[in-house]
Point group: C2
Chain length 193, copies 2
């Protein structure tokens, strides 16, 4: 208890790991690089995360929670159900514009190790399903047909990878416009704006 708080250290390590893993890829980053970036000893690092795989899983799990939290927080700042639905795409645009944006951590990790690590496939699937559920909630709240959920999910997913590869945040705008199109064409939205 006189020692540094273990949770603080975990956070420190996860911060370093997240920045490196996301920025360079899972296999491109060695435990040594994480150790240096986190400023802890190798001994400590392995005490906190017994293996690289554990660290990767913790990274993905925390990133999933944080990503969805931030999205939800942004969306919550909007009033009408219709606006909340479209806010998802505004948030994406903001995300795509961040320095160092490199696509979806889960898609990237899946592409890199999904064939080889069931844990990563699992994490990616869970992340996408959670996003899908969240979207479904927004769609229902807006009184839109359930079918819209899948449509918006495809648009968002497409925008993420297109933005990553092209290096431009514009796909979010196009996805938003398309979403508006799908929305205003649907019965419940008539009358809005």
């Amino acid at each position: 208890m006189a020692t540094v708080d273990i949770e603080t250290l975990r956070t420190q390590v996860l911060d370093a790991a997240e920045s490196l893993f996301y920025g360079q890829g899972l296999q491109a980053v060695g435990m040594d690089a994480i150790r240096s970036a986190a400023g802890v000893s190798l001994k400590r690092l392995y005490q906190l995360f017994p293996s690289k795989e554990d660290l990767v899983e913790a990274y993905l799990s925390r990133r999933d929670a944080r990503w969805r939290e931030e999205l939800a927080r942004y969306v919550d700042g909007h009033g009408s159900p219709r606006e909340r639905l479209l806010a998802v795409f505004d948030w994406l645009h903001q995300w795509f514009s961040e320095e160092g944006f490199r696509g979806c951590a889960f898609i990237n990790s899946f592409g890199e190790l999904g064939a080889v690590s069931p844990g990563i496939t699992q994490a990616a699937r869970a992340h996408k399903e959670a996003f899908h559920s969240y979207l479904a909630g927004l769609v229902a709240a807006a009184g839109e047909p359930a079918r819209l959920t899948e449509q918006l999910a495809l648009l968002a997913e497409g925008a993420i990878t297109t933005a990553a590869i092209s290096g431009s945040p514009e796909p979010a705008r196009h996805a938003r416009a398309t979403a508006e199109h799908l929305l205003s064409a649907s019965p419940a939205a008539t009358g809005a704006r």
Copy 2:
């Protein structure tokens, strides 16, 4: 000339490399595994492709060409411009249903090494741009507004990654339905069907 045709060998090696790289990821596959699968000696392998990077580039380049060829061939079997546009999504469904489907080789490679290898980023970007152009041609031929190109591209892209991660070909169906929606809502399509 008495020796085996060099082109045949290249094809043999590329076939093996494609199957392994696509199925397991770039870094998960060693040159030795490719050598065994291709049934050539290491000496030969390095004679044909001086480095792994060269082999990866050749793999991506051939896959790009082949992928677009197959898509175009499929689409060409359809009559009306509108049908041709929708056929893209049918082809995707067929692709997603293939044994061993694991998403887009370019997105996967980009996620794995894009941060570290400009060549791969370049290849991914070129592939996506080529697909976009192809789509633009179909859209123009159907007399649809140019804006539809981006919309369909987002849907296709989203369907690819969603299918990869979920392991189901269904996203192609949803994307197709959404595309139909966007089509029939646009002016030029009235009267179809």
